[in-house]
């Protein structure tokens, strides 16, 4: 066999290997989705969405958990996006490349890998106790913000880094300040990447359970939270709570709740894709 034949063989082998890898992920996810859907889809109705929890599976609903998740999502976004994107911009555009900043950089990257329960303990001490927020929505959102800040910072920096140097030079050469260059050229050009990073981070936040349990989110919430200082529960905690009960009815409830949570996540991702496409159209590459 000559060399080009071997190369072609390798090429094909890798192609099928790649297809296999992709299929594996899709199949596992598909199996899970189908399984959950079969069990839970019949349970999803208006009553399920708008009811408070109950000891009778047929009467129980996810309203407090759903509203709690939306609150957490909104508050976390409000806290984490400006801080995360701001820090990313500083580190990439302004910070001098010295030792201190190098250490800072490595630490931020490492923080992304810290187990979420550790963030929960940190949030319990700082937000719940020292700042006496207790088990409120605000404490939960602040804790989750800490958790996803590294992801947002890293994503922001990577997107800024991808903007060609020539764009910066063009702006500077016309007498723009660093702020003007960042705000009017660099950020619009990198917004697609930043938005994607932010959405990924928020998607992670709404799936988190452990840190919220640690700061004292409740498993049984017979009311709908109406302000950031209210106590709360979120969908994953509700799911966890139901799944740990022996009655079959609650297992069905949790399957239905998982479907609703998935729907929320998909909706978010959909909105993100829409926003990204719209912004990228404004940036006329």
């Amino acid at each position: 066999m000559n060399n080009s034949k071997i190369n072609q063989l390798k090429d094909n082998a890798f192609k099928y290997f790649g297809i296999g890898c992709t299929l594996f992920g899709i199949l596992v996810l598909g199996y899970f989705l189908v399984n959950i859907a079969i069990e839970g889809i019949a349970r999803i109705n208006w009553q399920f969405i708008t009811s408070l929890p109950s000891r009778i599976p047929g009467k129980a609903g996810i309203l407090p958990a759903l509203i709690g998740t939306l609150w957490i999502l909104g508050l976390t976004a409000v806290i984490a996006i400006p801080i995360g994107v701001g820090a990313g911009i500083y580190l990439e555009e302004y910070a001098k490349k010295n030792r201190l900043n190098n250490i800072l950089e490595i630490n931020i990257t490492n923080l992304a890998g810290v187990p979420s329960i550790i963030y929960g303990l940190l949030g319990l001490e700082i937000f719940s106790r020292i700042m006496s927020m207790g088990g409120s929505l605000l404490a939960g959102a602040s804790t989750l913000s800490l958790l996803i800040l590294p992801i947002i910072i890293v994503a922001t920096r990577e997107s800024l880094k991808a903007v060609p140097k020539s764009l910066r030079e063009a702006s500077f050469a016309l007498g723009a300040t660093k702020w003007q260059t960042t705000w009017m050229q660099i950020l619009p050009a990198s917004s697609g990447g930043i938005v994607t990073g932010v959405i990924l981070a928020l998607s992670r936040a709404i799936g988190e359970t452990a840190p919220l349990i640690v700061i004292g989110a409740l498993a049984y919430v017979p009311f709908v939270p109406s302000s950031p200082t209210d106590e709360f529960t979120v969908m994953p905690i509700q799911i966890f709570n139901w799944i740990s009960r022996p009655q079959k009815g609650f297992i069905i409830n949790s399957a239905a709740a998982i479907l609703v949570l998935l729907l929320v996540t998909f909706l978010m991702n959909g909105i993100a894709v829409y926003l990204r496409n719209r912004w990228q159209k404004k940036v006329k590459w």
Partner: protein
């Protein structure tokens, strides 16, 4: 009368000595060409005038550079203000990912100009000056990336002219262009000379000979020779210049 003067300028990037004791004066409303082999320091020297090297890691400069008798590396100098007066055109056309219109008015927008009528006027005048108006006047809202390379480069010049500089720095502005676009750009440079002091870095010696009044030959960070372009190309004083322009090295 000299528009730009420099005295004993040295530039270091970390340990690398990029510019070695260069003193060079540039006359008002003339075209000066910087020639020399790659890595000889001609681009570095050009970028000293609008302080674009300031962002490079380990950049250090000694000596003085004057623009209209103001020392441009003085700590009191307002860098953004300086760059409005000393415009720059880059090697590769680098329009902003915006419309043609927004590209031209960017320099004015960042200065806070909002008057639509005045902006419209500037766009028309600037594009006319670079002979691009007739080609794009109906497509001002189109992306600048829809233009050809040569048009993009002329747009970049128009964008620079819009903020009304008195000096134009051009860093190999035609190296990414086809011969016809290059010819158009050279013609443009010849016209702009009436009102602007132009310094052009070029690898193309025929280009230097065609468009410049003075030519400076750089080699390994030193200014080997600066003279009238005619003199440099017909009767160079230094042997190294002679060798370079006859193609014996470089």
């Amino acid at each position: 009368m000299y528009k730009l003067r420099s005295e004993n300028v040295n530039v270091h990037y970390g340990d690398f000595h990029a510019i070695k004791d260069v003193s060079l004066d540039v006359e008002k409303n003339s075209v000066t060409a910087f020639i020399g082999p790659s890595g000889c320091g001609k681009s570095t020297f050009l970028r000293l005038y609008n302080r674009m090297n300031d962002y490079i890691e380990g950049f250090k400069k000694t000596g003085k550079i004057y623009f209209d008798d103001v020392e441009i590396y003085d700590s009191k100098i307002h860098i953004e203000g300086l760059r409005k007066k000393i415009g720059m055109v880059f090697q590769k056309p680098n329009p902003f990912p915006k419309s043609i219109y927004e590209n031209v008015v960017y320099g004015l927008r960042i200065q806070g100009m909002k008057n639509k009528k005045m902006l419209d006027e500037v766009v028309e005048n600037s594009l006319k000056r670079v002979a691009l108006w007739d080609e794009v006047k109906d497509d001002l809202k189109k992306s600048a990336f829809a233009l050809s390379g040569g048009q993009q480069q002329r747009l970049c010049i128009a964008r620079t002219l819009a903020v009304e500089p008195s000096v134009l720095l051009m860093d190999e502005p035609t190296s990414a262009l086809d011969p016809i676009s290059t010819a158009k750009l050279e013609e443009l440079i010849y016209e702009l000379k009436q009102n602007f002091t132009i310094i052009i870095v070029t690898h193309n010696m025929q280009q230097a000979a065609r468009i410049s009044d003075k030519t400076a030959f750089f080699y390994l960070g030193e200014l080997v020779e600066l003279n009238d372009t005619k003199e440099i190309f017909t009767n160079p004083k230094k042997e190294r210049t002679q060798n370079y322009i006859t193609g014996r090295f470089g």
